[in-house]
């Protein structure tokens, strides 16, 4: 997308030349330029773009078909739909846990089809992921679970200490950082998982049914956290069944049914 921008600009000048000549009306040319630059910048700055994405599994079952969508910075987008609609598959495509069967996905300016397998980790460092089942490492303490993300990046001990404390403070678990995940409630484990996902200030946070295992009150708390994180500038894509939350939040909703977007 980045490389196509100069081409688009050249194309614009050529078209403009044929339409108006070198001495065409300056005001009109100026306004066209403005509208093109707005459209280009919106494409270039989008966090996620999907173009005609299809995903078929080995069993020849089509999980996603013809998906086109765009998520901009600072957006909260809900992905809703019945079980088996393709919500999780769509998320897994975004952090390249799965490959598309056809189509293109661009995440933070990188075309996922063109990233080598050995370089995927660099993309994942820009994305935070939260799962319904938390996916915490049970042999590590809360602090170590969150710190692992920064250890992978080779951050200094003092920086890790500072950022992990801040992250745990954001989710209200600073006082439990020395405990092991098994000793925490489901809601607390999900908070740890969120702290881990945001400790490296990702540009995008993917949350797959983050409130699925929690009661209504805890789900409300967790949603509050997502809103806080979003205010800091992180785009959030959340798959959920919980329509009450979706209605309360009044944010953009993508409805999936049988692998297709029904309502955008």
């Amino acid at each position: 997308m980045v490389t196509s921008a100069p081409l688009c600009l050249c194309g614009f000048f050529v078209l403009s030349f044929f339409e108006h000549g070198i001495c065409g009306p300056p005001l009109k040319r100026h306004s066209m330029m403005e509208s093109l630059s707005v459209s280009l910048s919106s494409h270039l700055s989008a966090i996620v773009q999907m173009f005609h994405v299809h995903k078929t599994f080995d069993c020849n079952c089509s999980a996603l078909a013809g998906i086109n969508l765009q998520i901009d910075p600072g957006e909260i987008v809900f992905l809703v739909g019945p079980s088996g609609a393709g919500k999780t598959t769509l998320m897994r495509l975004i952090f390249r846990e799965e490959r598309v069967s056809s189509g293109q996905i661009i995440v933070h300016g990188k075309n996922l089809n063109k990233i080598k397998d050995s370089q995927i980790y660099l993309l994942r460092r820009k994305i935070g992921v939260v799962f319904q089942d938390f996916k915490l490492i049970h042999s590590k303490t809360v602090f170590e679970n969150v710190a692992y993300v920064l250890q992978v990046l080779g951050k200094s001990k003092s920086e890790i200490e500072k950022r992990v404390r801040n992250s745990l403070k954001r989710v209200g678990l600073e006082h439990k950082m020395d405990q092991y995940p098994r000793r925490l409630s489901g809601g607390e484990q999900q908070r740890v998982s969120i702290a881990r996902a945001v400790v490296n200030d990702p540009v995008l946070l993917l949350a797959d049914e983050p409130t699925g295992n929690l009661d209504a009150e805890m789900a409300q708390d967790i949603m509050g956290l997502f809103v806080d994180i979003n205010i800091q500038g992180t785009a959030v894509l959340m798959a959920t069944h919980n329509m009450r939350i979706v209605e309360e939040m009044k944010k953009r909703v993508i409805y999936l049914r049988e692998g297709k977007i029904v309502h955008l």
């Binding site: 980790y121 460092r125 992921v129 490492i137 992978v152 080779g154």
Partner: protein
Amino acid sequence: MFISRLRQLSYLLRQGGQDLKTAGISAGIAIMSIACSLLLLCLYFMAFSNLSKALNSAGNITVVLYLRENLKVGQASSLQQMLADCSKVSSIRFVSKAEALEEFRKTLGTDASLLDGLDTNPLPASLELSLNPSMEKPDQLKLFLQHLARRPEVESIQGGVEWVQRLSNLLSAVRLVLFLLGAVLAVISLFITASTIHLTVDRRQDEIAVMRLVGASNWYIRLPFLFEGMLEGVLGGCLAVVISAVLYHVFCWKLSPLLKLIFGISTMNFLGMDKMILVLLLGFFVGGLGAMVSFSYRAA
């Protein structure tokens, strides 16, 4: 960047150590199997160095060259001169026919009168050679003695050749058997290490999935396992050296008289520092290679 890499490396090293602790019995089995194969290597080094030492004491071997009858004048002295100039010979003594008879007479002692009935002196003149201790390789020594036996002045050779031959054969056999056993055990321990690492990887599948999720590179995930394998190898090497030391202290006093009798060496040597380091390095590589095999198996 460099400091960040160092930090990552230090973290991964610690992680490898922790993994080894949690691996428990399976890691213990891998360490023991590496120790067994390296123990054979230690025994090989000890046997080889001590048998070589026996050969080094070849200066004690007196080889007697019996000279032909009716040698032309000067032939014996030119051979003696040639041998005296040879670096492989440390000392040389010419024993004339008369001196040989005299010595034989002394050997017979009270029975020396038996020799009085002889019309002629049947004993040949000879050259008694003491071989240079610097001749370490038995094959080299053997070749030298064969070369001497082919000389026209020499009727026959007594001593040395058979001994050197036997020692050389023994050394070759010991070398071959220990080498084959060591190689087989090294391969077995390599696969046991691979299997141990494989089990650890399996056990930590969920953890590895999380590691991938948070942006750990393939090598970042693999390095702790590689370190674990290497650590198992080094511990196996240490264990092999310790067991060798115990065996040495238990058996060297019992073996010493036997060695003195057969090989003429009074004390047995333990492994040198260079060999101990070599054993540890080999353990390190066997462990590392085992971990790599585990990765390639998993990738396949």
